[in-house]
Point group: C2
């Protein structure tokens, strides 16, 4: 195969510029100027550097391309259309409700691995794609295009650190330094050397080029391919709006489409004049042939939980044990942000060091890399203290949009961690995770359920969150007990139950204690372990509420909003069931776990008081 | 005043080492080794460099100290006790429920500006403290102590960028490079030059020192004070556990207290031998005398909203107008992450450029700097697209713990933004903000209420979130209309109402349309604008529900969990009211605002259908 001529590549660049301005003008919105600065980079990457099959973008050996500056979506769509992935006529449906060519790329499109559009995330995912090539032993390379404004996002430097740490020489970034941000000049303007200095300081090979010089771009890609033991960042000096003189390098043109009619027509004419006639379209190099098959794994081969009723184990520890066992499946990987000895993910590292990734104290890249790994077929478990997952909340939001198979694990939930104080307590994590509509939320109370739910999480399609606790809790389930997404366990039940108490995690034991105390007074309550917080077991809850005086008390080691109380309310509130929430109502403080659980109103004592109060008033209600 | 002798400083360092190990051993938990590496830095800073009054730490001219590595709290407490801020005997109550000396520092203590303990946040707050010195024209300096592991957090590099951009030569960081993280060696180990290279690449002056060489530290502080036009980072090579041989520079000693008894006694004896006898305690330099008074500002001096009923304006635009007017109060500042032309905060910049801070595309530093500014008396309004505030979710969590006066503003909420697609739509922001128990959440539907709520937010104590929308909406409130935190507006009401529809923001207009349509069919509904989502107007909602068939329908441009539906459920669910939620149930996509509002089930059509459905079944309910 001969290398494409520069004229041919230049024609491709012009063609995708034309498509970018036409499609955004047709849509009446979008970011044509951000596309035009990147068109030469895209043309050279797609038609002279990357090995891929436009008709099978998910070929496991194909080079990956991640558009981290997601607002340049039209240039991405134009490049894939030009490559033959779909009919170019589709481009004119950009941003329409019946088209998958959305305002920013999502994996609804077969050639998009992760949704982008929140800056600084694509590069994190690309680190995951590059790590995955090692996992599966493929020679595919990962390319990622960033904006210059985007480089202000801290997550970019988290990615830089981790990519350098893992010496990812199969990763090549290109920063499109077009000088202009959304509302003003970027922090470094056209200071390409300053960008290069930063990347070098973070351990990358950096190359400064003119981003409109096709030969220079091709040389830079080749240099990146030759560079060993470190990733490469190509810092490309470009002009926003390049090729259309009325908008080129001009302020005030971010995120604006050219008006259809004269404004667009003139721009089209100007670009069309740049096309060299009679030049053949370049041929795209194919990826290495692949005969990979999806690895098979039978969960029945996993050892059952080894706990006996009455044993005492922290759910976070059971998580680590289960995760290490799951490592028997080569798709399972674990990521840690320097707390592996607290989350017990170190057990996975010990068993499978080659599939354990350390991101140091950096949670955005931990979740972002997991997104890239999941997009390429891995089943990643990033784990840290649950409160620090909020550091990656925007990544989790985007993970939901991508519907990726990431299994987030947060330990040390709630006030029951004790003395470390509120900064280490996750009390809003259920709200964060439940707000992601396709995220499954599991919350085990004992070692057996923890192990079972970790396995469930691994093979349940889509994002899953597993919430674990710091303190040891008694084992209450036999190894033979079955759990499922959307399930619950009714732990205490009689015909005389005056109320249903719904608990999860450590509050299950408070509810059981409350039940025992009330039983001594001759009062029966139903106790439900809602281990599947999302989806919640609505039918069981509703049936139980109807059998127990239409009265439900929820109790959770979480703030009052967005958590278990919300889940239960949503399930039963349409039916006019009374739901009374016990939850943490204010910012907590340091203290022993027992003191805090009681002080913040989620102890057995609080449950007993609540049951007495609500059953006393239930009779008087209209 | 003469400079303290090195022996005197060394004795202080030893004293605070002793207090650090004694207090953590007494508590039975904590991070003594992380304190010991920093003790010489703390002793020299507190007793030879910083100007402050231990008895009045909030003196507006006093130098600030932020412990970004918050887990070293005991060394902070020891330094303040040694300085005379409180009785040293209190130190032995570390981490107890009846002490404010918590596991990680919070502003319950008068000498703590912002809560730390989530790494990479303190340096962001310190940027805000340094910006505030400029705002008030004070010569106070801000010092911030970071951990080396902490430097992996991307937010650190966001802070680096912004501090360099604003040439904050009144800011001095010290990185305690003790080599060991929580679970393993840090990313760069003792590579102090590598850290210095990074800080220089980000535009800082960097000085590498031996962090146990008191003279070198003092020289470095002096060099930082002399350095103009850029902040300084002192990269201090230290040993974790320094001074106690059994734990010094040893793996496996992160976050572990020495055991009381022989283990502690030996360590104490070893440190006590390091005390030079007969050396006077150093005197702390006092800050510049201050005669500052809190500026007075009368909100009655603000212009009333200038809209007439029937005008059309986007609430985000009204936000910008109100914010610019509020700038008449010198405490009000605005921060932007390069979207000022979308959030309309550019109107504030135009009116008050000296109090407008640009953090570029970096939301963590935007919120973090706002925390520092608020801690020093400013009333900061950081604004961006609401979805990108989730980038700073962990900062918002900590902001709640600090109970700071930060007024977060998120624009472009919900599917009603249209074509840009899901990555730009905030659909979980209400869940995030409501989960912060002391955060007020305001959500205006029209220009008048937007302006009024912005002013309410400014002078309401504590964190506030203002949610605004992209589309223009009709003005429905007169300029004379009154709004208050915890209030609501009943827009349609009759004795025949069959249900209460609770809406907010853009869905208010859908509810009004639905009401009109149902009225034509002879069906009356009550319509409530719940502009105060947190606290919600529980008494009005409950009274209304009781008057309307005990049936409530909520409708919101947000996912179903954690938002308006949750707020209303919590308010009325104890009373057994039926609550039916209309909200976005799945990941949305691009399309026109009208198409999306309808497709995702929150349009007038959906409300009409829901009212018909729930009133049809209400009669059949038991």
């Amino acid at each position: 195969m001969t290398a494409p001529s520069l004229d041919a590549l230049r024609n491709v660049a012009t063609a995708i510029r034309l498509d970018s301005i036409r499609s955004t003008s047709e849509a009446g919105s979008g970011h044509p100027t951000s596309c035009l600065s990147a068109a030469d980079i895209m043309a050279t990457l797609f038609f002279a550097e990357m090995r891929f099959d436009p008709r099978n973008p998910q070929n496991p050996e194909a080079d990956r391309f991640v558009l981290s500056k997601g607002h340049a979506a039209p240039v991405l769509y134009a490049a894939w259309a030009e490559a033959g992935a779909f009919d170019r006529a589709e481009l004119m449906k950009l941003r329409a409700i019946d088209s998958d060519l959305e305002g920013h790329p999502t994996p609804r499109l077969p050639f998009v691995d992760v949704a982008t559009g929140s800056l600084g995330q694509g590069i994190c995912a690309s680190v995951g794609c590059a790590l995955n090539a090692r996992r599966i032993g493929s020679d595919y390379r990962t390319y990622v295009l960033l904006g210059d404004g985007e480089s202000a996002e801290g997550s970019v430097w988290e990615a830089a650190e981790v990519a350098a740490h893992y010496r990812l020489d199969n990763l090549c970034g290109i920063t499109d330094v077009n000088r202009l941000g959304q509302s003003r000049e970027t922090q470094l303007g056209h200071g390409v050397e300053a960008y290069a200095t930063r990347w070098r300081a973070f351990g990358w090979h950096a190359i400064v080029v003119d981003g409109h010089d096709l030969e220079a771009l091709l040389r830079a890609y080749a240099e990146a391919r030759r560079t060993k033991d470190r990733p490469t960042m190509i810092v490309a000096k470009t002009l926003k709006g390049k090729g259309v003189s009325v908008i080129e390098d001009k302020d005030g043109w971010h995120g604006k489409a050219l008006k259809k009619g004269e404004e667009l027509d003139r721009a089209v004419a100007e670009l069309e004049r740049q096309i060299a006639p009679g030049v053949p379209t370049p041929t795209i190099p194919k990826p290495t042939a692949s005969d990979r098959s999806t690895p098979r794994f039978e969960t029945s081969s996993l050892p059952p939980p080894a706990y006996k009723r009455g044993d005492s184990v922290a759910t976070r520890e059971a998580y680590g044990t289960a995760l290490a066992a799951l490592g028997a499946d080569p798709r399972v990987v674990a990521l840690d942000a320097d707390v592996k000895n607290s989350t017990f993910s170190e057990r996975f590292e010990k068993a499978h060091p080659e599939r354990f990734y350390q991101t140091f104290t950096a949670e955005q890249i931990m979740v972002g890399a997991a997104m890239g790994l999941a997009a390429r077929g891995a089943i990643p478990f990033p784990s840290t203290f649950a409160c620090f997952l909020s550091r990656a909340a925007d990544f989790i939001r985007m993970l939901g949009i991508s519907n990726l198979n990431v299994k987030l694990a947060g330990s040390h939930a709630g006030v029951s961690i004790g003395e470390d104080g509120p900064s280490q307590m996750a009390l809003e994590d259920l709200a964060m995770m439940r707000a992601v509509p396709n995220c499954t939320v599991l919350y085990p109370c004992d070692g057996t359920s923890a192990e079972r739910l970790v396995t469930l999480a691994a093979y349940h399609s889509g994002p899953v969150y597993i919430r674990t606790s710091r303190p040891k809790t008694p084992v209450i389930y036999d190894a033979s007990e079955r759990f499922h997404v959307g399930g619950s366990k009714t732990l205490r039940s009689s015909r005389e139950d005056v109320a249903t108490v719904v608990a999860a995690g450590i509050t299950v034991f408070e509810a059981l204690k409350a039940c025992d105390e009330l039983t001594r007074e001759g009062v029966s309550i139903r106790v439900i372990d809602a281990y599947s917080v999302q989806p919640i077991d609505a039918s069981t809850l509703l049936a139980s509420a109807r059998e127990t005086n239409r009265t439900v008390v929820t109790v959770e080691d979480h703030y009052i909003h967005g958590g278990l109380g919300d889940a239960v309310s949503e399930a039963v509130a349409p039916d006019g069931i009374s739901v009374h929430r016990l939850a943490v109502l204010e910012i907590p403080r340091s203290g022993t776990p027992e003191e805090l659980v009681d002080r913040f109103g989620i102890s057995a004592r609080a449950i007993v008081a609540a049951v007495r109060r609500v059953t006393a008033t239930a009779g008087t209600r209209s």
